[in-house]
């Protein structure tokens, strides 16, 4: 059995963290939100272009003082989220959001996890409760953008975890 550390930092997670997909600002975006985790400093902006309830385009950038900017978990999660959501309806996005969240909080059975497709590579995060917020940050930020909120935070009044899964 693989050690938990390689379940967390599996090949795909590492690969996406090093070469994130859809990593760019988007001038044509009509939805945008900034996500921050003040405790660890992860800071991202998610851009969406939504037409007729379909996500035509989605991208993200990380903000930080150095080249790495954000942790591998939040960066790869954002990267794989953009890949999953491009071309999806808002309803599909909501379903994936709920499925992803449930997978990380351990409430999802294997069959349901299969429906998440390649997002299943983040299942290992649930053994690291401190890191769940890293993986869910882009998803909460994406949902904040769709709800026309400009900021999502993992702490305090804006804590998406308090309204998570709903």
């Amino acid at each position: 059995m693989a050690s938990p550390i390689y379940e967390l930092y599996n090949e795909q997670v590492i690969e996406h963290s090093k070469k994130p997909r859809n990593y760019r600002e988007m001038d044509a975006a009509n939805r945008k939100a900034e996500g921050v985790n003040p405790l660890c400093g992860d800071h991202q902006i998610i851009y969406l272009q939504v037409e007729d309830d379909v996500i035509k385009d989605i991208s993200f950038i990380c903000i930080g003082e150095d080249k790495v900017k954000n942790c591998a978990i939040s960066k790869s999660s954002a990267s794989m989220m953009t890949r999953s959501l491009k071309g999806k309806t808002l309803k599909d996005a909501d379903t994936l959001f709920n499925g992803f969240h449930e997978m990380l909080t351990g409430e999802l059975n294997e069959a349901a996890q299969d429906k998440l497709g390649h997002l299943g590579v983040f299942a290992g995060v649930r053994k690291f409760p401190e890191r769940v917020k890293c993986a869910t940050l882009p998803w909460h930020t994406m949902r904040a953008a769709l709800n026309n909120q400009e900021v999502a935070s993992t702490e305090g009044a804006l804590d998406p975890a308090s309204s998570a899964g709903g």
Partner: protein, 423 residues
């Protein structure tokens, strides 16, 4: 500081010196005898909070089992015993930092509360519009935010001493900042994020030429150096018990009696009064004036016991050993390809902050934890320091006298594993 250097010269290789039996010292700390994720715990987060020796735990138990009562207000037996123990701890603090009088040592919850006490008691009374407060670029948020709040309230100006790329304060710039509008200087004795030992004695002398009092944030200084407030001639010195082998909730702010006497009280309530009527209240003398309400009696008694412990093992020896350990760790870790040490001042203590190419410190922290190694990963409550060094965060290993060379070796192997995972 000079004491530290002398000791090092006399004991060039204290790591193998029979006079420092680290294995024997480790037996005093029950928390160290455990496995984490199947590996022996390697506790390198001492700058955040240090571990508590059995003798301090036992002292707390004795208090709770045999002495617990409120202090200063009962004529009964237990209250007298509790008061004696609490005031005895104050005497120990006085000797530990070499204050002139025990009443100059105010018990607080920690360095943060100590700094806030000085901000409220001294700052709000003596600092006004157009006045200036000097802090440094390497301060912990606890020595930034209170002064910012004061400056905002009083329309005063916060001035910041810059530092160089090694993490050393620029003293010429400090001289340029000092002027007749300066009303207080507040700086760290040792930086919690970089480990820099600041030349505080010299900085205090320069401030005093302008008649400006100086507060030292001693949260890291008190546990890792020998402190003599009279020799330093600092006006205030704040320390946290939980960073010096005592329980949380213990701490001290030292102040020169003449300053404390003319300051406003901090919090109002019981214990800090002489007389109360609805027309007027008169305040108690030192130190009671600053200790409203029932304090953390058990914790402060624990701080006294921790000081006894530190004296029993030898302060200067402990400081010298930690310095040797830091030197060993710095050599080993800087030799790993792709690792950069943040904070390379000539005078350093306890703290080793580092970053690994292409890897975020939180990922380092998670992988190290799997190896049983506790480090801090993040901004260390010093976001301006992170910005100055153009990093989002760092991983920080911070040492105490119970850490070993083997633990440093385990840290090095774990960092190599980080590089392998992200290979």
């Amino acid at each position: 500081m000079s004491v530290t250097k002398t000791s090092l010269l006399e004991t060039p290789d204290i790591l193998t010196d029979a006079r420092w039996d680290v294995e024997r010292i480790r037996e005093d700390f029950p928390v160290l005898r455990q496995m984490v994720n199947g590996k022996p715990l390697v506790y390198l987060d001492n700058a955040a909070s240090s571990q508590v020796p059995q003798i301090v735990i036992d002292r707390g138990s004795i208090y709770l089992e045999q002495e617990h009562s409120n202090i200063h207000r009962g004529v009964h037996y237990l209250s007298q015993r509790a008061t004696t123990a609490y005031e005895g701890a104050r005497e120990k603090v006085k000797r530990f930092i070499n204050a002139r009088e025990a009443r100059e040592c105010i018990f607080v919850r920690g360095a943060t509360e100590g700094i806030n006490l000085v901000m409220h008691g001294y700052g709000r009374k003596f600092i006004g519009e157009g006045d200036e407060v000097i802090i440094s670029a390497m301060e912990h948020h606890s020595n930034i935010v209170p002064w910012q709040m004061l400056c905002e309230e009083k329309n005063a100006r916060l001035r910041v001493i810059p530092m160089n790329d090694q993490g050393e304060l620029l003293l010429d710039e400090y001289d340029a900042l000092l002027n007749e509008r300066t009303k207080i200087v507040a700086i760290a004795h040792i930086s919690n994020a970089l480990g820099t030992i600041n030349p505080v004695k010299e900085m205090i002398a320069r401030a005093h030429k302008y008649g400006v009092p100086v507060l030292l944030d001693g949260a890291q200084g008190a546990p890792h150096l020998t402190v003599d407030v009279q020799d330093l001639d600092c006006d205030f010195y704040a320390l946290s018990g939980h960073k010096m082998f005592a329980p949380t909730g213990s701490g001290v702010v030292y102040g020169k009696a003449e300053l404390l006497e003319k300051m406003n009280p901090f919090q109002g309530g019981g214990s800090m009064i002489r007389t109360v009527s609805f027309e007027k209240t008169t305040y108690a003398g030192l130190p009671d004036k600053f200790e409203a309400g029932t304090p953390a009696i058990a914790s402060q008694i624990g701080l006294g016991a921790a000081i006894d412990y530190l004296n029993s093992i030898g302060r200067e020896q402990a400081v010298a050993y930690e310095h040797e350990l830091l030197t060993y760790a710095t050599e080993k870790i800087s030799a790993i390809e792709g690792v950069r040490i943040i904070g390379t001042a000539r005078e350093k203590a306890s703290v080793l902050s580092f970053v690994v190419d292409e890897v975020h410190p939180h990922d380092i922290g998670t992988i190290l934890d799997q190896e049983g190694i506790a480090v801090r990963a993040g901004h260390h409550c010093a976001q301006p320091v992170m910005k100055r060094f153009k990093v989002s965060a760092t991983a920080r290993a911070s040492f105490a006298f119970y850490n070993t060379k083997h633990e440093v070796d385990a840290l090095v192997s774990a960092i190599e594993k980080v590089i392998e995972v992200f290979g």
